[in-house]
């Protein structure tokens, strides 16, 4: 039995009794043991409990008892999503030793459907970064070439799914953190509409823009996970009360007759040559599949990076103010310290990117500068939303390459934060506007590095988005992961 099997196929085999969950999970854990020292996707692996859960599910199936829709599905969870009894570190020294006393809603929903959480995966500290290099545990590595970054911040999610260390993963996407690793690791990653998926138990970084999103190898597996995690949560008042669609049903409806707009500002000068040719090929493909492709101009995007980082830094500096190492966190005695001196000393253990964003956030919110930066950023955000609303009056979907460039070498850009921020230009629009966006594997470059295409839809139009992503996937043949 190959580990590279779609969740849909695996789950139906398991349900029919044709496949033992215990064997499959054991094989997956063997795979993790084999590749993990080269990839470093996981922060915590719970082999023993995973094996126990697998046995329990096999037993339930044999006894003819009711099982959940994800019965026996091995998944990983980004380590900024709380999980009872399993440490949640946010890849930060500040949360060393923290074991949450509750599950995030998305985690309890996975558990209720009998998914098996193998462990927690790596990220940039507190999800701030786009390469996974800012993890206090060290970077994850791209399974397509281990000298290269896997994208981020949900790098561990992208790597673990791509390298067959699990079947799917939950990440979080604040400015592209699910889509960037999906693109760089040749897997599928969805950032849902703001308010479709509960954030209860997701450690807050930038509340007004972030969402939990699934990563999987196939679009149908993303649809399956969305059917489980989407929907109103009484613990999160920003979740919408509307009933979510059935994303699996009619997934193969196709895109015939759909109007798809290439976003001019996401496909211009900054694109690397091979990304640009892949984008042209993707447009031709969408047309072959029956869509009508046009070009759409959203000129507010020119200011989106500045607006995004102003808002995200402001919210980060507010959210991270709560960490004082008094109730949980790394072991550091407070005897002999004065209160303020102690708090400042322990907070000196935040990593460089988190510290940088807190400093920026404090600056843009401070008296005299609020109107110049933060308020303007919010106005740009409103402008982007208004232009997106107008665009969706004439097109059904938008398209762009997910990342403007190919994956790059570990260490190559880490000392130039602004350069890294600018690479988020294609992904942050969906977060600022609150709309859903998905990255689908589309091509492999001449050097063997993945290129993903991004599709964007109007708010709560995930069903149409997944249908288009499925069409694109079904017409694309790509090689398997080389590791």
């Amino acid at each position: 039995m190959s580990l590279d099997i779609s969740a849909t196929e695996y789950l139906s085999l398991v349900r029919e009794g044709g496949l033992s969950v215990e064997e499959f999970v054991a094989k997956t854990l063997e795979r993790i043991a084999k590749v993990e020292d080269r990839l470093h996707a996981f922060i915590t692996i719970d082999s023993q409990k995973s094996a126990e859960r697998a046995r329990a599910i096999d037993k339930k199936i044999k006894a003819g008892e009711r099982t959940g829709v994800l019965a026996g599905m091995p998944v990983s969870v980004k380590d900024n999503i709380c999980s009872t009894g399993m440490r949640t570190t946010c890849a930060s020294k500040m949360l060393e030793g923290f074991v949450p006393p509750y599950d995030a809603t998305v985690v309890s929903r996975l558990k209720a459907e009998d998914a098996i959480i193998l462990g927690k995966v790596n990220l940039d500290e507190f999800a701030m970064g786009s390469t996974t290099e800012f993890s206090c545990f060290g970077p994850s590595r791209n399974p397509w070439n281990t000298d290269y970054v896997p994208g981020g911040s949900s790098g561990g999610s992208g790597v673990s799914v791509s390298a067959l260390e699990c079947m799917a993963s939950l990440g979080s996407d604040t400015g592209g953190s699910v889509r960037s690793p999906a693109s760089f690791c040749s897997v599928v990653g969805l950032k849902p509409t703001y308010g479709l998926v509960s954030r209860y138990g997701l450690v807050s970084y930038s509340n007004s823009i972030e969402q939990v999103g699934p990563v999987a190898r196939r679009v149908e597996d993303i649809a399956l996970l969305m059917n489980v995690i989407a929907g109103h949560d009484p613990h999160d008042d920003t979740t919408a009360k509307r009933k979510p669609d059935d994303y699996v049903q009619d997934l193969d409806a196709g895109i015939k007759g759909k109007r798809i707009g290439l976003v001019k500002q996401m496909a211009g000068e900054g694109l690397e040559k091979e990304v640009s040719s892949a984008t042209e090929a993707a447009l031709a493909r969408l047309q072959d599949l029956g869509a009508e492709c046009v070009t759409v101009s959203l000129d507010a995007i020119e200011h989106s990076v500045a607006a995004y980082y102003t808002i995200a830094s402001a919210e980060a500096s507010s959210n991270l103010a709560r960490y004082d190492n008094l109730r949980y966190g790394f072991d550091f005695g407070n005897e002999g310290y004065e209160f303020k001196a102690y708090v400042s000393k322990v907070r000196g253990n935040f990593g460089p990117e988190v510290t940088r964003r807190m400093l920026l956030g404090a600056f843009v919110l401070s008296a005299g500068y609020y109107g110049k930066y933060y308020l303007k950023a919010q106005q740009v955000r409103a402008m982007i939303k208004s232009q997106i609303d107008d665009a969706f009056k004439t097109v059904d979907l938008l398209v762009s390459p997910t990342m403007p460039i190919l994956p790059y070498k570990i260490g190559e850009k880490i000392d130039d934060p602004l350069k890294l921020y600018l690479l988020d230009i294609n992904t942050i629009t969906a977060n600022l506007a609150g709309i859903p966006a998905i990255s689908v594997p589309f091509a492999i470059s001449s050097a063997g590095l993945p290129i993903g295409m991004q599709l964007l839809a109007n708010s709560f139009e995930e069903k149409a988005l997944l249908q288009a992503a499925f069409s694109l996937q079904q017409s694309t043949r790509l090689p398997g992961v080389p590791i």
Partner: protein, 92 residues
């Protein structure tokens, strides 16, 4: 926008972080803030910002619910708890 050592130290104080190497943040914070200044040049047709107002008329009942995780009270999860208190450094 010029950022100097004094400004970084002030920001460090605002976010309550003892900066081990304040020098390394000066150039980067200055470069990023200068980039943010592009926001000042935007020609806004409207001053509006996004608002999403929600009317709350079906608030849940204000009922006390005891928290427990696997039968353990929340206080059990605190790293420096003594009885029902957290041990903190002295305030003065």
């Amino acid at each position: 926008m010029m950022v100097d050592r004094k400004e970084i130290a002030h920001l460090g104080d605002l976010v309550k972080v003892d900066l081990k190497d304040p020098e390394k943040y000066i150039a980067q914070v200055e470069q990023i803030l200068n980039y943010f200044e592009g926001l000042d040049k935007v020609d806004f047709k409207s001053e509006k910002t996004l608002r999403n107002e929600i009317q709350y008329d079906d608030l849940r009942e204000d009922k006390y619910e005891k928290f427990s995780s696997d039968g353990r009270p929340l206080v059990d999860f605190l790293k420096k708890a003594q009885d029902n208190f957290v041990r903190a450094p002295k305030m003065i």
